[in-house]
């Protein structure tokens, strides 16, 4: 039995007051083990983003409990939450969110900086190597393609060796080939034991995961395993080579 990384009990989140109160999350309970690859799905307004923000310690729940790696996160103050985000969670965003004037290497070093780690260059270089960008370390984001930028973001997410990677629509701004590439990267990281949670509204993306949580009106309405997930590496082989298309 693998270790429980996330344990959520009766989680509620309300916005606003009185008549205009919005119940973004209602009584959500779920647990996620180490090594899982989970997709969170649902239409907009279903509460999936709020759920992800809560898991990411970016937002505090109105009620309920959230244990991250056995620690009750609801009790922590802002600065302690910052430390938890730094040490336990690796974020990947739809917009990549890289610092535009810093090299790829410097961007990846950022979480290490906030952690006060020494020997940052070597660790960051290793993370970039892991995502296949060892040749692009000194490039700035605007000198990289969208897929490469997202790889830098993934390198940044794994550099502090977090217990989970939290990705919010990580392929929303990418074409189908680069989407497969990023998903292949996630699958490889997952095979190495990383817990990965992806928020997406694309069924295609969800089918690469091992488990899907579906939200509707703030409730967790379905929790199902993915039967026979797509192997992104294999899918890539079936996609036309972009260079071949260009020369055809």
């Amino acid at each position: 039995m693998s270790k429980v990384v996330i344990e959520v009990k009766n989680l509620c989140k309300d916005y606003g007051k009185g008549d205009i109160m919005v119940h973004a999350l209602r009584d959500v309970s779920v647990s996620i083990n180490q090594g899982e690859f989970v997709a969170i799905m649902g239409p907009s307004g279903s509460g999936k983003t709020t759920f992800m923000n809560t898991l990411g310690c970016l937002d505090k729940p109105t009620a309920g409990q959230y244990f991250l790696d056995g620690k009750n996160v609801a009790d922590l103050d802002d600065n302690q939450l910052a430390e938890v985000r730094n040490q336990y969670i690796g974020f990947v965003f739809q917009q990549f969110n890289l610092l535009p004037r810093q090299s790829a290497l410097r961007n990846v070093e950022l979480p290490l900086q906030y952690a006060g780690v020494k020997n940052r260059h070597a660790i960051a270089a290793e993370a970039l190597n892991r995502v296949g960008l060892s040749q692009r370390m000194e490039h700035r984001p605007n000198e990289l393609s969208g897929g490469q930028q997202q790889r830098v973001a993934v390198a940044r997410a794994i550099v502090n060796n977090p217990v989970m990677i939290l990705a919010d629509e990580p392929t929303g701004n990418l074409d189908s080939r680069t989407t497969e590439e990023i998903l292949a990267l996630f699958q490889a990281l997952n095979r190495d034991g990383k817990t990965i949670i992806v928020v997406t509204h694309e069924e295609e993306v969800a089918r690469h995961c091992k488990r899907v949580l579906r939200f509707r009106d703030g409730r967790l309405v379905m929790d199902e395993p993915v039967l026979d997930p797509i192997d992104a590496e294999k899918a890539l082989l079936d996609l036309p080579d972009p260079d071949a298309v260009a020369t055809a």
């Binding site: 985000r85 950022l110 979480p111 906030y114």
Partner: protein
């Protein structure tokens, strides 16, 4: 998170928008520059005024009849000064090291075809030391014997010499004053005085000579004395007043003399120029303040623009103090850079302005340190609000913004 990293982040942010940073800094540059230039010019003015007074003789006390109370009136009025008064002071005031009576008059002096109307001072030779006029361009002063024999000898001020001799050697030659021949024995070096009793526009002759041969009077117009040190100026002045007042008082009981204390005058000048300095520095400080507000304005814009970046940094683990430090450093660094440039600018301005105003450039180390410190403080003060706003952003809100 080390301080060096925050420093680097701040520097990157400043450099990433060079024009804006430069324009923001300009306010501080001008503020610091004008504070330094204004203080330096104020100090220079003060220095010049004090130098002017020192030219006239340091530690000097001068006694004159009070013309406002009729002391100057002719005849043997009780307000007149006499040689006996000089003797009395010499005897009774030990802190007076040198003393001389003096008479004054305006006469025309001639040499060849050149002539000039100038002030004649009949003094004893120790006046040279009292009036700080021992440095000679040529020759020397007349002697006590010359005074005793009422010899016709003269020492010229620089401008008198320049006008009569036009740069030629004067020693040993003869000038005419009131139709009498006077041998020129010395020329005092240029002192750069100005205005009333400019020492450069004087002819000094022995006191006896002036009394008997030129002005025909037995009284004296002025007593000049040198005090042993500036510390006892006030006490000495009081003692002199007491000695003179013992023999005579006006009907109303008021003193009929005016006693001028060079130290007191110096203090007055210092006070006045200090006031001027404060005023100038005050005006300059206002511009520094305005520069600070400019910094705050731009920092607020910068925080709004970089909301997303701040959100990201927080998501990646930056705590409030870390974000606060980064933004504070940004504004402090801009102020400090601006301050350094301002100091250089202020120094340059001081050189030019003091040349134009003919005062010595006096860039004061303390003023530089203060202006610099004030600039750094402004960076802290006006950076605090924007930095707090940045550090209080919720990461989720910040990430969501576009």
């Amino acid at each position: 998170m080390k301080f060096g990293d925050s420093f680097e982040s701040a520097l990157t942010a400043i450099l990433s928008n060079k024009l804006r940073s430069a324009l923001t800094m300009l306010g501080v540059v001008i503020g610091v520059g004008s504070v330094i230039a204004m203080i330096a010019i104020g100090e220079g003015t003060k220095k010049k005024s004090i130098e002017q007074l020192e030219i006239m003789g340091a530690n000097m006390i001068t006694v004159m009849p009070d013309w406002r109370r009729g002391g100057m009136s002719q005849g043997s009025g009780s307000g007149q000064l006499k040689v006996e008064d000089v003797e009395a002071i010499k005897r009774e005031v030990p802190s007076v090291t040198l003393i001389t009576g003096a008479v004054r008059g305006n006469e025309t002096a001639k040499f060849g075809s050149n002539s000039t109307r100038t002030s004649i001072s009949g003094v004893e030779p120790q006046m040279a030391i009292i009036a700080n006029a021992t440095k000679m361009l040529a020759g020397g002063w007349f002697t006590p014997e010359d005074n005793a024999f009422a010899a016709r000898k003269a020492v010229l001020g620089y401008q008198v010499w320049d006008q009569l001799y036009e740069g030629e050697n004067a020693i040993g030659s003869t000038i005419k004053i009131k139709g009498q021949n006077f041998e020129v024995v010395g020329v005092v070096t240029y002192k750069g005085g100005s205005g009333f009793r400019n020492p450069d526009e004087q002819i000094y002759v022995p006191l006896e000579t002036a009394q008997k041969r030129l002005l025909g009077k037995t009284t004296i117009d002025q007593i000049s004395m040198q005090v042993i040190s500036t510390d006892v100026m006030i006490a000495t002045q009081a003692k002199v007043e007491e000695v003179l007042g013992r023999t005579r008082k006006s009907a109303t009981g008021e003193s009929q003399f005016r006693v001028f204390n060079q130290g007191e005058q110096m203090e007055q000048v210092q006070q006045q120029t200090q006031l001027l300095g404060f005023l100038l520095a005050g005006i300059a400080s206002v511009s520094l303040l305005v520069g600070g507000i400019g910094i705050m304005n731009i920092m607020l814009v910068s925080v709004t623009e970089r909301t997303r970046e701040i959100g990201l940094r927080k998501a990646l683990g930056a705590t409030k103090p870390v974000i606060l430090t980064q933004f504070m450093l940004e504004s402090v660094m801009m102020c400090v850079f601006g301050g350094v440039i301002g100091i250089i600018l202020g120094w340059i301005v001081t050189q030019y302005v003091s040349k134009a105003l003919q005062v010595p450039p006096a860039v004061n180390g303390l003023a530089v340190a203060m202006a610099f410190g004030f600039a750094a403080f402004i960076g802290l003060f006006f950076g605090l609000f924007p930095a707090m706003r940045a550090s209080n952003l919720q990461p989720i809100e910040a990430l969501r913004s576009d």
